[in-house]
Amino acid sequence: MIEGYNFAYLDEQTKRMIRRALLKAVAIPGYQVPFASREMPLPYGWGTGGIQVTAAIVGRSDVLKVIDQGADDTTNAVSIRRLFANTTDVATTERTEEATIIQTRHRIPEAALREGQIMVFQVPIPEPLRWLEPREAETRRMHAHADYSVMHVKLYEDVARFGHIATGYDYPVVVDGRYLMKPSPIPKFDNPKLDRSPALMLFGAGREKRIYAVPPYTAVRSLDFEDHPFRIEKWDESCALCGASDSFLDEIVVDDSNKRMFVCSDSDYCQTRRAHGHGPAAEAKPATATKDAAE
C-alpha cells in the first residue's frame, strides 16, 4: 500500500461531495447529477468517473472486481484494480459472485448479479441527447419536460434508412418511466440486465462531470416501436473456448489469413465454465435459425 495518500486516494471533502451527488442520483433514477469531478492519476477517458465513484463508496471490507469490455486482465482493468489495491488495500477478485463492488468499462457480467452488489459504470458521454442537441441548456430543458421526441425521431430515421434500429451499443433506455438515460456504451445485449436488477447501478462520467444511478428493482425499458421491437444480438457461433452460446462474443482475428475466432467477452464467465468441464462445441455448428435478422 502506498503511504502518503488518504484511503482510496480522494480527500474526505471530495468524497462527501460525491456521496451527496450519489444519494440524489439514487433518489432521482436516471437523472444526471452534476458533480465537481477531480483530476485523477489517470487521464480523462480512462474511467475517471467510475474511479471517483468507487473511491467514494469503497470500504475496507469490500471485495473489488474491475472489468474492461468484460475482461479482468486488460490494461484499463489491471491499472484501476492496482490503483485501489495501492490506495485502499481492499481485497480484489476476478469472480463476479465474490465481488461487492464491480467497476466496469462497457459490459455487465454474464453471471446474474445479486442484492447488495454495486455496479460502477465508466461513462464517456452521459447525455443521451447530446449528438441530437449540442446545447446543454436545451437538453436540460428537454429532460425537465420529459420531451424525448427527438430520440424517437432518430430511431425512426434509422428504421426509414436502414430498415432496423441501427444502434448496437449505448442503446437509449427510459428509467422508471421518466428519464431518458444512456446506459454507458454497453452493448444492447446487456440492456435487459439493467431492468429490475437486484444490484445497485451507479454511473460516473469524469470529464463530463455527471453521476447518475439506477436503484435495484427499477424498470429500465429500451426504446423501440411496436413494429420494430427491441432485440438483442445473437450469434451463429458459440464460444471457441467454453462453448457458451448464451454470452456476448468477441470476434478475434487470429492470423494473417483472416482466420477468426469467437470467444466470450466475459473472461470470468468463460473460465468458470471451462473449470466446470465445458469446452468448445464438438459437433458441427448449430442451426442458424436464431440469427437476428436485424443484425
Partner: protein, 192 residues
C-alpha cells in the same frame, strides 16, 4: 463550560460505513440502516442523525435545524464547518423532529432542470419498524415493503403525496430513530 462531544473516532472508515448504510437505505426504501458510530452524540441529535451530519455535511451545505435539534448547532459548526440556514427553503440538509416538522412544501424542492438541488430532510421519529402498517412501492423495492413509522403528525402523508405531482422536484426524507434510519426518496409511493 460544557465539553464538546467527539465526532467519529475513525473519520475515514466511520464516514465510509455510515455512507454505505444510508446509500443502501436510499437505494432500498423500507430497509433499516444501523449506525454504530459516533460513540457520543450531541444534544438534539440521535446517533443516526449525528452520523449522517458527520458523513454528508460540510462548508458547502447550509443546514437548517428544527427547534429540538438547535442545541446541536455548536457541534455542527465545530465538526462539519456547517453554515446554518435561516429557513427550511435555504437548506441543503434539514434536521428536525416529527412533532415540529414544518410543512414539507416549505423545504427546497429543487427545480425541474435541477431536481437534485433539493433539501434532504433528516426527521427524528420515536420509532421505526419493518412490517408495519405502511405499504411502500417504487424503485428499489422488489414488490412491496411494509414499515411502521411512529409519531408523525396527522396530515404528514397527505403533504408528501401532494409533492408527487411535482416530480422530478421533490423531497428526500431519511427517518431516523436513535441508531436506525429508513429512507424514503421522492419516488417511493406510500399507502396505508
Amino acid at each position: 463550560m460544557r465539553a464538546m462531544e467527539a465526532g467519529f473516532a475513525d473519520p475515514v472508515s466511520d464516514a465510509q460505513a455510515a455512507f454505505r448504510a444510508v446509500l443502501d437505505a436510499m437505494a432500498r426504501p423500507g430497509r433499516l440502516a444501523h449506525f454504530a458510530a459516533p460513540a457520543e452524540v450531541p444534544p438534539g441529535l440521535g446517533r443516526a442523525a449525528a452520523a449522517l451530519a458527520l458523513t454528508l455535511v460540510d462548508m458547502d451545505t447550509a443546514v437548517w435545524l428544527g427547534p429540538a435539534c438547535a442545541p446541536a448547532a455548536d457541534w455542527l459548526r465545530f465538526h462539519c464547518s456547517a453554515r446554518l440556514a435561516a429557513s427550511p427553503a435555504a437548506a441543503r440538509f434539514a434536521f428536525a423532529t416529527a412533532g415540529e416538522c414544518p410543512p414539507l412544501a416549505q423545504f427546497d424542492l429543487g427545480t425541474n432542470e435541477y431536481p437534485d438541488q433539493s433539501t434532504t430532510l433528516v426527521l427524528e421519529v420515536p420509532g421505526l419498524a419493518r412490517g408495519g402498517a405502511l405499504t411502500l412501492r417504487g424503485p428499489g423495492i422488489e414488490t412491496v415493503e411494509h414499515v411502521g413509522i411512529a409519531g408523525l403528525p396527522s396530515g404528514f402523508w397527505g403533504q408528501r403525496d401532494m409533492l408527487h405531482e411535482l416530480f422530478p422536484r421533490g423531497l428526500d426524507i431519511v427517518f431516523v430513530a436513535g441508531n436506525t434510519a429508513l429512507a424514503l426518496p421522492r419516488t417511493t409511493r406510500v399507502e396505508g
